[in-house]
């Protein structure tokens, strides 16, 4: 039994011309203690999926279907009060922009203490001690004297450490990290990722890491789910995604990584744009951009299906064995030199 | 969505209709008024309006303490309110626009001096300036226009200053500068036309404020001296007869609120037309 089991999650945004799908029947699982990378272009629905798990979708957004099973309960059918008891205690979240995610008029100490005061009955003194210990643990130097400073007085990297501290201060079982390093300098990115990895093994929590950056996935994730136009198109252990790619979109994403270790492969951005969610292709949503698409791809709805025990893809041509794995690049390899 | 579009149009039509009606009333006052507004008739003092049992259709809206016809005085009173309101807003707008654009475009000492002055004037309320001037030279229509105009320029200066600064950075203005255009030419040809819509909204809403201030000053006795028919004067006269003749103050109050509300509606409708997110902020 997985720690978190998401099935058929569907989230729409109400607009003047009717509801527009952002997440459409996404299913994936998160095992205890693992790091699952949820990867996709912006607009693929990966962040909306993450926010939907904690039911943090604001109107006009709305979750209209699916189940989010955690600890034997469906989070989507909990009463608001029960849901609040889960947030910050069992499942926490950190965000892309640490400055705008922190309350500018509260001291960082107060903000790290808040989850403890909400979820535990320890007094303020003890909460302060634990918050302080957590601030030290996430690598805030001299946290004692920084306890009463405000977010704007810290650097971007330290702010994200504060966010991590307030998310983990109640020692949750799951941390959802929504693009946690995107807004940071490259050197800081590596430090924050290393910190997350450290804390994960130390506290034994699972992490759902949302990112558009396959490089980040390669560094920290155990498993990967690739999202496209609101649907999961491939899910596999991290090594298999790179070595045994089973969906043309995943292959295109991998090809677009600017990576010195794969100089042989030409850097290509994925051609075209993600489809307009109001006018989705009827069959495979990637078909209009796919180099391997056949007429049947355009008309047939594709389903995420296991091709081996740990590896699933939504490409029917791969499922039928018509395409080799890993998916070959369409562009001819450039000669070395 | 559709609902607010309708609201915007309705506001502009309703507000515009009221404003046009009052302006026509002011222009054609001599034709519309059934009596001379200054004609005193001590035999017909304090006659209530027609809906009252003692009402008399000779004076549809009744008479005041001197037997003057309320309807005629209300019609004539619109003249002063409109003239002072519009003239004061125009003066404030012209002054504020020029100073604000100058500060925003040229920067340096002009910027510091103009914007500091605008800040400092906040500490010196309009009404204190009015009180000082009236204490010194007495009340007249021209003094009212000068006092209200001089105190109202800062709004425009701030708006124009901020907008001029942001427009200055845009490519078409930078292109004009690089082609050697003169400052005055750039302001006239490139910057000012961009600012006209905002200016219209601010000025419209300010006319409403100016009229309220004019009536307030008149009410306090700092406007035109009696017997001049102004809505503020009439309200002040009615105040002493609150018990016996409440219609004197209430009719003048209704006249003020209809006109000011109409202008506010028109201004808010225009603003929502320009910027749909704001509502009724002043």
């Amino acid at each position: 039994m997985a720690l978190l089991n998401i099935s058929g999650l569907t989230t729409v945004f109400e607009t003047a011309t009717g509801p527009v799908g952002a997440v459409d029947g996404a299913s994936f699982t998160l095992e205890a203690g693992e790091v699952l990378g949820l990867v996709g272009e912006s607009g693929s629905g990966k962040s909306v999926s993450a926010f939907s798990i904690l039911r943090l979708i604001n109107p006009p957004g709305k979750i209209i279907g699916g189940r989010v099973e955690f600890g034997g309960r469906d989070l989507l059918s909990l009463a608001p009060r029960e849901m609040r008891a889960v947030r910050g205690k069992d499942i926490s979240m950190i965000f892309q922009e640490p400055l705008s995610s922190l309350n500018p008029v509260q001291t960082i100490g107060a903000q790290v203490m808040e989850p403890l005061l909400i979820h535990t009955s320890i007094g303020k003194r003890k909460a302060r001690d634990r918050a302080l210990a957590m601030l030290y643990r996430v690598g805030i130097p001299d946290a004692e004297s920084r306890f009463d400073v405000y977010p704007h007085q810290l650097s971007g990297g330290l702010r994200q450490r504060v966010m991590i501290a307030l998310a983990l201060v109640c020692e949750p079982k799951i941390l959802i990290a929504d693009e946690p390093t995107t807004a940071l300098d490259v050197t800081i990115q590596a430090q924050i990722l290393a910190l997350l990895k450290d804390l994960q093994s130390e506290l034994g929590m699972a992490i759902l890491l949302i990112t558009h950056d396959l490089g980040v996935i390669a560094e920290v994730a155990d498993r990967v789910a690739v999202m496209y136009a609101g649907q999961i198109v491939e899910s596999a252990p991290v090594q298999a995604i790179f070595d045994d790619t089973a969906h043309p979109y995943a292959a295109a994403l991998i090809n677009s990584i600017p990576d010195r270790t794969r100089q042989a492969r030409r850097l290509i951005a994925v051609k075209g744009n993600i489809p307009d969610p109001r006018h989705l292709p009827p069959g495979c949503r990637f078909a209009p951009r796919c180099g391997f698409a056949q007429p049947s791809c355009v008309t047939t709805v594709q389903k995420l299906t296991a091709v081996d025990p740990t590896h699933a893809t939504a490409c029917m041509r791969v499922q039928a064995g018509e395409l080799p794995r890993p998916i070959p690049t369409l562009t001819p390899e450039l000669p070395h030199g | 969505m559709k609902h607010s579009m309708f609201g915007k149009k309705l506001k502009m039509r309703l507000g515009g209709g009221i404003v046009i009606a009052v302006i026509l009333m002011a222009i054609f006052a001599p034709l519309l008024a059934p009596h001379d507004p200054y004609d005193q008739d001590l035999m017909s003092r304090l006659i209530p309006p027609f809906w009252n049992a003692q009402g008399d259709w000779t004076y549809p809206l009744g008479t005041d303490n001197f037997g003057r016809d309320m309807l005629s005085r209300l019609i004539y009173g619109s003249r002063l309110s409109i003239t002072v309101g519009v003239a004061a807003a125009l003066l404030a707008c012209t002054m504020g626009t020029i100073l604000g654009m100058w500060a925003g475009y040229s920067g340096g000492y002009a910027e510091t001096a103009i914007m500091r002055l605008a800040d400092a004037q906040l500490a010196f309320p309009d009404i204190l300036l009015a009180i000082l001037i009236v204490a010194a030279v007495g009340g007249s229509a021209l003094n009212l226009i000068l006092v209200l105009g001089l105190s109202g320029w800062t709004v425009y200066a701030r708006v124009m200053y901020n907008m001029t600064r942001s427009i200055r950075e845009r490519p078409f203005v930078e292109a004009a500068v690089s082609h050697g255009a003169r400052s005055a030419y750039i302001i006239r040809q490139h910057i000012f036309p961009q600012l006209i819509p905002v200016l219209t909204v601010v000025a419209t809403l300010q006319v409403a404020q100016m009229i309220l201030q004019e009536t307030a000053l008149s009410f306090l006795g700092l406007g035109l001296p009696p017997p001049t028919a102004t809505w503020g004067n009439m309200l002040a006269e009615g105040r002493d007869r609150m018990w016996a003749a409440p219609w004197i103050s209430n009719l003048s109050g209704v006249a003020i609120i209809i006109l000011v509300w109409g202008i506010n509606m028109l201004g808010n409708g225009l603003r929502e037309h320009l910027d749909p997110n704001q509502r009724g902020r002043q």
Binding site: L54, V105 | L220, I257, R281
Partner: protein, 305 residues
């Protein structure tokens, strides 16, 4: 924080200088000061005495210097109607005005902020339309007529409250409501706007992700961030507040500085008018300073040091 307050205090002399300058210009340049100060029946001796006292034969710059010196010593001359120094007359009325203004401000702030929050939370629904329409109607309402309507209704018809004057807390209700209504519409509209702007802030999502309740999100996270623009606006409204207070005091015969000022104008008691203008200007500067301090206490980013 301390340095911040000191720095703000340093701007006060500049403002005072400006007020004195404007007052001087208006009094000396718009006409013959002797005629402004004295009535038409003044004897030649009185005129000559005043000319000497005002140093009217000196150059303007010297006159300004002497005027400034008098003002700084608190010497505004003798009140013509009370035959005592003008400044104590004005200061004696200060308490009543502060009482009226602070009660009205409290009313307007509490109800305005509450109304603005309700309108924002029910955006584009009935409460929002009602409150917004009410606010625009309120902005169009001449406060002096509102005061008269309140007197007609609650004092003359219902006989619940006294018509005017001072003495008991009942006397304060109608003037305070009149003055509060003068400010209320703008408070509602500005609060509505800032709450709507703050509602989309990400840190509210963070608070929600911690498991905070909706009321805690509103009072601990949203309001402390939305209240500062409302306070800035309050600072900008001080001038209007003074205007409203003068009108309200006049309608209800409230014995404050405002009614004194109007009465002194008609008595041609120029020294009292100047002293009152001066005291009110200082009060506005101090009130703005208070707003600044309050804002920097709420929002640490405002502390400039």
């Amino acid at each position: 924080m301390f340095a911040f307050i000191v720095r703000r205090l340093l701007t006060i002399p500049i403002t005072i200088l400006l007020v004195v300058f404007v007052t001087f210009i208006v009094l000396r340049v718009t006409g013959d000061p002797v005629q402004i100060y004295l009535d038409i029946n003044a004897t030649p001796e009185q005129t000559a005495l005043l000319r000497e006292r005002l140093h009217l034969d000196e150059p303007l710059i010297v006159q300004f210097g002497l005027f400034l010196w008098d003002v700084l010593r608190g010497d505004f001359g003798m009140s013509l109607q009370f035959a005592t120094p003008a400044l104590p007359v004005v200061l004696g009325r200060l308490g009543a005005t502060i009482q009226l203004v602070s009660v009205a401000l409290l009313f307007a702030f509490v109800f305005g902020v509450a109304g603005g929050i309700v309108a924002a939370l029910r955006k584009d629904r009935l409460p929002d339309f009602l409150l917004s329409a009410l606010a625009v109607a309120g902005q169009s309402m001449p406060s002096f007529w509102l005061g008269i309507l309140l007197i007609q209704t609650f004092a003359l018809d219902l006989k619940w409250l006294p018509t005017s004057g001072t003495g008991s807390w009942q006397h304060l209700i109608l003037p305070a409501v009149t003055l509060a209504t003068f400010l209320l519409p703008n408070f509602i509209l500005i609060t509505r706007t800032t709450v709507l702007e703050t509602r989309s802030e990400l840190f509210l999502t963070t608070a929600r992700s911690k498991g905070a309740s909706e009321s805690s999100i509103m009072f601990r996270h949203l309001l402390p961030n939305a209240i500062n623009p409302v306070l800035s606006f309050l600072g900008l409204q001080m001038g209007r507040l003074v205007g409203g207070s003068i009108i309200t005091e006049t309608i209800f015969a409230w014995p404050g500085i405002g009614s004194l000022m109007i009465r002194s104008i008609f008595q041609r008691d120029v020294p009292v008018v100047i002293a009152a203008v001066f005291i009110v200007s200082i009060a506005i500067v101090l009130a703005n300073l208070l707003v600044d301090i309050l804002q920097s206490l709420i929002d640490p980013r405002m502390r400039l040091d």
